[in-house]
């Protein structure tokens, strides 16, 4: 669902809203009456990308489902900071069971609603990269394989942040975590083969897979809306920078997500039925260097001396993404 082009050269469709844009072209987040699915008073750190991403996704899903939404949450930061007993920050029907079983619980909710003939009530499951890549992958794969009518959203902050920044299968090479310390001849996380979760989801042939970041609000809302228009198992992967785990000032959260996309390290695309159908092209390409330097988890790549080989390997990952998805090939998104 590409956005309608508007000849508007000030902030166009890059900002959340715009007083001169037709209200239908503004984001859900620019509305005074947005749901605020995750309300104030939650205990996420300053500048939390996950809190931001969750509100972006759920508010858009609430609009797409006309307020008929049930949310199932895996264990993780998002669950912990939003529901310290006896408080809840959720302004949507919300269920938490275990770390591993959010996809299974969501499948059950969907089945129960279907059995009651209440198919207008939609189900969304969400978890961090730990629950998605590692602990709940079996349940998630089952949910995909059965094509259960659930939109599963992974908020990827690239490590187990809630418990003190331990490595997950989503942790990128060279990144320092509590379990991949920046010591020894190969400091930080190893350069493994990685686990490309959107590709894992696509391999199941499910109808809708997409990636997004908290840096492009219009894009993320369009993808939630598109996903909600589809029945069956759907997967949305949102990059949500973590000031604590990545080691960056809290006001840099959105900027880091933007740099991850603009460097090519995090490709933003849509896939339907297992095939990539659309990519969000890079607008102003940047080398990975600036993105890495901005984060303390990569400091050992630059101090005490620059590890040029490691940086080059990370740059090669970005270049490979750019080539694989054609991130520079499509015409740059025109003035809007």
């Amino acid at each position: 669902m590409p956005s309608t082009p508007v000849r508007f050269y000030q902030v166009g469709s890059f900002a959340a809203g715009n007083r001169l844009l037709d209200p239908s072209l503004r984001t859900v987040q620019s509305e005074q009456g947005r749901t605020n699915s995750l309300t104030s008073g939650h205990r996420a750190c300053q500048g939390c990308g996950e809190a931001l991403g969750a509100r972006y996704v759920l508010d858009a899903a609430m609009r797409a489902s006309a307020g008929q939404l049930v949310v199932v949450n895996a264990t993780g930061c998002l669950e912990v900071f939003s529901t310290p007993y006896p408080e809840s920050s959720w302004q949507v029907p919300w269920l938490h069971s275990l770390f591993a079983n959010a996809p299974a619980a969501a499948s059950g909710v969907a089945a129960a609603l279907h059995a009651q003939g209440r198919d207008s009530v939609r189900v969304l499951a969400q978890g961090g990269d730990g629950a998605t890549f590692d602990i709940g992958l079996g349940c998630l794969s089952g949910m995909f394989e059965r094509n259960d009518d659930v939109l599963y959203v992974c908020y990827d902050n690239e490590a187990y942040m809630n418990t003190g920044v331990q490595r997950s299968a989503a942790t990128p090479p060279a990144a320092r975590t509590a379990t991949t310390e920046a010591v020894g001849p190969e400091p930080g996380n190893s350069f493994g083969r990685g686990k490309d979760m959107p590709r894992v989801a696509m391999a199941h042939g499910i109808p809708y897979v997409a990636t997004a970041t908290v840096a492009d609000l219009h894009d993320i809302e369009e993808k939630v809306t598109a996903a909600m228009a589809v029945r069956g198992a759907r997967y949305l992967h949102v990059l949500v920078p973590c000031p604590l785990g990545w080691g960056a000032p809290p006001d840099q959260t959105v900027r880091l997500a933007r740099q991850a996309k603009e460097s090519g390290l995090f490709p933003v695309f849509t896939a339907r039925d297992g095939e990539v159908t659309e990519v969000s092209p890079i607008r102003h390409r940047i080398p990975v260097d600036g993105y890495l330097r901005a984060q303390r988890r990569y400091r050992h790549l630059f101090e005490p001396e620059e590890r040029t080989e490691d940086i080059a390997r990370i740059q090669a990952m970005a270049d490979a993404n750019i080539a694989r998805y054609g991130l520079l090939d499509p015409p740059q998104r025109g003035p809007q």
Binding site: Q10, G12, A15, T27, T39, L52, P86, E87
Partner: protein
Amino acid sequence: MTKPFAITLEVGSSLRNRTGNWRTERPVYVERLPPCNAGCPSGEDIQGWLYRAEEGDYEAAWRILVEANPLPAIMGRVCFRPCETACNRGQLDEAVGINAVERHLGDEALRRGWRLPEAGADTGRRVLVVGAGPCGLSAAYQLRRLGHAVTVVDAEPHPGGMMRTGIPAYRLPRQVLAAEVERIMELGVDLQLGTRVGDVDAALRDGGYDAALVAVGAQLSRRAEIPAGDTARIISALSLLRSVEEGGPLEVGRKVAVYGGGDTAFDAARTARRLGATDAVVVYRRTRDRAPAHDVEMEEAEAEGVQIRWLSTVRRADGGRLVLERMRLDDRGTPQPTGELDELDADCLVLAVGQDTDLSLLDAADGVTVSGGGVDVAADLMTGHPGIFAGGDAVAGERSVATAVGHGARAARRIDRWLAGEVWQPPAPREPATFDRINAWYYSDAPHAVRPLLDAARRRSTFDEVVGGLDESTALYEARRCLSCGNCLECDNCYGVCPDNAVVKLGPGERYAINYDYCKGCGLCVAECPCGAMAMIPETT
């Protein structure tokens, strides 16, 4: 209340958890000074009127514009646009075409007959303004709005001052000049033309005025000592421009040389081309980057076929022939003769080596001092003689229509304060909205709408206007390229990017507020504000 099994505490919303107490810095909304406004000699709120123009509300935009400057259609044609030089968008792609939008607003106002704000309630005070040029007209307008009676006296038969006698019609059509002057006169200005004031102090006393503003233009041409033969024809640039204005153009011949490097030199050369000269050559002692003429003026002149001899001086003028000497710049940038001589055929030599202001009308006023070719004035633009103020070309500094309009408005406000017996206080300076405050990511890339230039060949033979105006859609497009530096444009970004829902959207035109009960002070709203209208400040407690 019966609680479920194992539940001992009252459950409730996290809203009871006031996370605002985590904060060490707080975001605040600010209004920084945009570089265009800072650079405008007329003191216009450019960002302010562009904001209205972006909405397509041109009348509202024009009304903000004329708060400072009652001559937008003129300014949109003759201004050398320091605002565009300062524009932050210039660091992104190209500066916003502020001047073109200003002209569009000015032309719309004339076309639609928009009236200036009405004169203020009569104060009973009377002010004499000497000179009906941009400074005097601007002052008269502002003084009328403040309720003072104004008499404008000018020695010429038509109002406009140097805008009429020094700016060729191809840059400023006379009907535009007349219409904007007339609109000021409608506020009830007593205009006395063809009257020269020889002694302003006497005129002030004899006329029963409470204050006077000396706003005379730099009408005297400087001379250059050039050995000349009997048959050499040498005229001043101002007399050439004036002769065209008065309908009896001077004979310049086929080959014309103009000596000087300012705007007037190029205006004279371009005028000579229009009068039929096949060769119009500007001779200047220094290099292009040291010429006082503005780039636009030089570029347009060259496009019209005006030739330029840089690093050259006129040694001698004879009938039909000039002897030029090549110059070189020394270490300090001062031109030095090289002894190498050159010849240039010229039927006429036009001197454009500077202008002075005739300040003899101040000779009899006690306390008035003059230095550097201008009257000495204090910060309130008052001369050493109480009640006599000066502005425009009469004071030293940049000589331009924009500066003169700015002086006129400032002088009017300060005369008003002086008449009220108050001491004028400069306003507190605003923090500048520098480019590093801009989050450029959010602005779409867009080129500059270039004003259609009339065909150069056609330009040479007529005095038609050279630079065309924007049309309705391109004016809107150009206005919407404004970054709104330092001032909220209501893009909802702060409201969108707050992870704690601590930014409250107040509705269209009302902007936003911060809910400090929940704001954790992460600074995302400030970092993601496109235009630099927010700041983080330390918490005091």
